[in-house]
């Protein structure tokens, strides 16, 4: 927007007393502030609102919503860590899925940078295009993949793998893990399915985040190391990894923050006992209870958590800098 505005500027007649060119950046800043900061401030303000039982909510200034997050609504007679547990699962999925995505995207991207220019651009276009798939479609795809009649469980049954598992007693182990019903293996609902789908969701981002750093790797250093007799493994740990440590950490952090808010994948693949703060926020705001203040309080806490982790990551990276 600022770009197009500045392009049209020279056409405006210059005025010595009043220079619109000076005013424009200020106006744009004000507009951006209004559009970005107002909703943000509203959420924070609503977080202090008060719920009216059986109806809606009203503006107020109470810390009850934040208190409820840590100890539950029935405190002090009754204490629950339900919402902390959900926050824990938010972190749990986001950490594992972002690590998984970056760890698998890393070798792929490394190989990608060795390909010809032409092949590289084809791959990149494909990966960029796949980003346009919405979360809903990705989840639908994985849902079919995990479904009893059409997905992996069918493959297990048809290939005789299920019967083999049953014959060898491994099936009961899967049942204990919640990955099987008495009839067949089942992958939903499970933390496994949730993490897989989440990692898949951000995998293209991981490639795109790592690509610039890996394609700028100094090939002569690698060649020198190889000439001096280093094994490929030594090259990886002593040359490549130290060089891309910062982009790697940065990618994990960014994907982690992105995944904290995942909604559809968690709704579909995680059992209620393992659902996240994002789900809880949605249920408070849109669900049947109309408890926007509590939803807003949870959103604020999620935001603070994300900021804390980003801050810690920043610290870690600064300290690790040579």
């Amino acid at each position: 927007m600022s770009h197009s505005e500045s392009l049209t500027l020279p056409a405006a007649p210059p005025s010595p007393a009043f220079n619109p060119a000076r005013l424009l950046p200020a106006l744009l800043t004000a507009l951006i502030l209004l559009l970005c900061v107002t909703p943000f401030l509203l959420v924070i303000a609503i977080a202090f609102g008060q719920k009216i039982e059986g109806a809606g909510w009203e503006w107020a200034f109470t810390f009850a919503n934040f208190q409820r997050f840590f100890v539950g609504a029935g405190w002090p007679e009754d204490v629950t860590y339900l919402y902390l547990q959900r926050l824990w699962y938010s972190l749990y999925y986001a950490v594992i899925a972002s690590l998984l995505a970056v760890l698998t995207a890393f070798p792929f991207t490394l190989c990608l940078t060795r390909l010809s220019r032409r092949a590289q651009s084809r791959w990149l276009v494909f990966i960029l295009a796949s980003l346009s798939l919405s979360e809903v479609f990705v989840v639908m795809g994985w849902d079919v993949l995990f479904s009893n009649r059409s997905g992996l469980p069918m493959v297990f049954r048809e290939t005789g793998l299920t019967d083999w598992l049953k014959a060898n007693g491994l099936f009961d182990l899967l049942r204990e893990w919640g990955l099987a019903s008495p009839r067949n293996v089942k992958f939903k609902t499970s933390a496994f399915a949730t993490v897989m789908c989440m990692a898949y969701l951000v995998w293209p981002y991981a490639v795109i985040l790592l690509y610039p750093a890996l394609s700028r790797l100094d090939q002569s250093q690698i060649e020198a190391a190889r000439t001096m007799g280093a094994t490929p493994r030594q090259v990886l740990t002593t040359v490549i990894l130290p060089a891309v440590r910062l982009p790697l950490t940065g990618a994990v952090l960014l994907l982690f923050v992105f995944l904290l808010g995942t909604y559809v994948a968690v709704t579909v693949f995680a059992e209620p006992a393992k659902q996240t703060t994002a789900i809880s926020v949605y249920e408070s705001v849109r669900g049947s209870t109309l408890n926007a203040p509590f939803g807003a309080a949870q959103a604020v806490i999620l935001l603070v958590t994300a900021a804390t982790f980003l801050g810690l990551g920043q610290l870690l990276m600064l300290r690790g800098r040579p």
Binding site: R86, S150, Q275
Partner: protein, 357 residues
């Protein structure tokens, strides 16, 4: 305050419209329209195909269909729209608890002119809801949440209690994840004293503890209708709680699903037509509500949409078979007031149970 002035403005415009109606009647008569909200998808399509055209033919009022997601989410949308001064629909469908909530919120629903809705007298009086201001909702149609099973896998249980049998149902059921999806009403009717159990906190805790015993048998706690539909079709679950009308339609399409009325019955909920406080289409809305309360139209909806009629079978021309498709006995009446008055307590206790926290 701004609402008030807006309402006065609306009244004045309505007055103007009435005045011009006298002068240019033919033109205005052709322009009569009404925006009606209904739950999207198959449900809304059936209304568009079968009910609205019949209404337009009978009254000359054109209907514009508005998609609402479900009544509780729609309430948020309508609340915000009302505050903003312009609403997307004149008439909306609200479930009873949402309607009570809207009336407690205040300023959202207009009083209905019952003298223009004579057909509503034929309905069971339970379905005309009055709050302090007067009648604000007239039943549109009702629906059952029913016990469903996959007949290829298991036989129909005689009681809900059988779902607690892990020998038969381990990791095999699909139950709604929402605390107010009337599963607790089922537990109350099956193992306790029904609605009376909701009177005390201890009673509610006992209900939730009984529900917790079912957890090993639940493979899917569904939050969206489509999740349960897919899971039944895919045999990810072999039984559970689902809407009677959709189950019967799925069965008619050849999917392995059978709706069952066990001895305790199934929970019956119903939707009401409610008029937005900002709407100036009160007269058209009354005509539509009157139209939909007619026994013939109630029967039409049962046949074409699969909803249960709000009057006795004898008042309609539904055959026993048609009636059994959409309704059944006994019916469990949900403890609406308890769900609203103890909202936070019940939701948190239920969520704690689900989360094992």
């Amino acid at each position: 305050m701004s609402n008030l002035s807006r309402r006065t403005l609306l009244k004045n415009t309505a007055g103007l419209a009435a005045a011009s109606a006298v002068i240019g009647t033919p033109l205005i008569a052709q322009d009569r329209t009404l925006k009606i909200g209904s739950y999207g998808g198959y449900f809304e399509n059936s209304f568009k195909e079968h009910v609205y055209p019949a209404f337009t033919e009978a009254t000359g009022i054109a209907v514009e269909s508005v998609t609402q997601p479900n009544s509780s989410d729609w309430l948020v949308t309508m609340q915000q729209a009302t505050a903003a001064g312009s609403v997307p629909a004149d008439l909306s469908l609200y479930a009873r608890d949402t309607m009570i909530k809207a009336s407690r919120l205040g300023g959202m629903l207009a009083k209905l002119d019952m003298s223009a809705i004579p057909a509503a007298e034929g309905l069971d009086s339970y379905f005309v809801f009055e709050d302090g201001t007067g009648p604000i909702g007239v039943g549109a149609m009702s629906w059952f949440t029913a016990m469903v099973i996959n007949p290829d896998e298991v036989g129909p249980p005689a009681s809900w209690a059988e779902f607690w049998d892990s020998e038969k149902y381990e990791a095999s059921l699909g139950i709604s994840k929402l605390y107010n999806s009337h599963f607790l009403d089922i537990v109350a009717a099956t193992f306790f004293e029904g609605e009376a159990t909701f009177a005390t906190d201890e009673g509610i805790i006992a209900l939730i503890e009984k529900a917790a015993e079912l957890k090993p048998n639940v493979a899917l706690w569904w939050s969206a209708e489509s999740q349960m539909e897919q899971s039944m079709k895919n045999a990810d679950v072999i039984g559970g709680l689902y809407y009677l009308d959709v189950s019967n339609l799925m069965a008619a399409d050849g999917f392995p699903i059978q709706a069952v009325f066990p001895k305790e019955g199934n929970p019956q909920d119903y939707g009401s037509w409610c008029l937005s406080a900002l709407s100036d289409k009160g007269a058209e809305a009354a005509e539509f509500i009157n139209f939909s309360s007619d026994p013939a139209i109630q029967a039409l909806m049962s046949r074409k949409i699969g909803t249960a009629p709000l009057l006795e079978q004898s008042k309609t021309d539904l055959t026993d078979e048609e009636f059994a498709f959409v309704s059944g006995t006994p019916s469990i009446k949900p403890a609406y007031e308890a769900y609203l008055d103890k909202e936070t307590f019940m939701k948190e206790a239920w969520d704690k149970m689900l989360a094992g926290a």
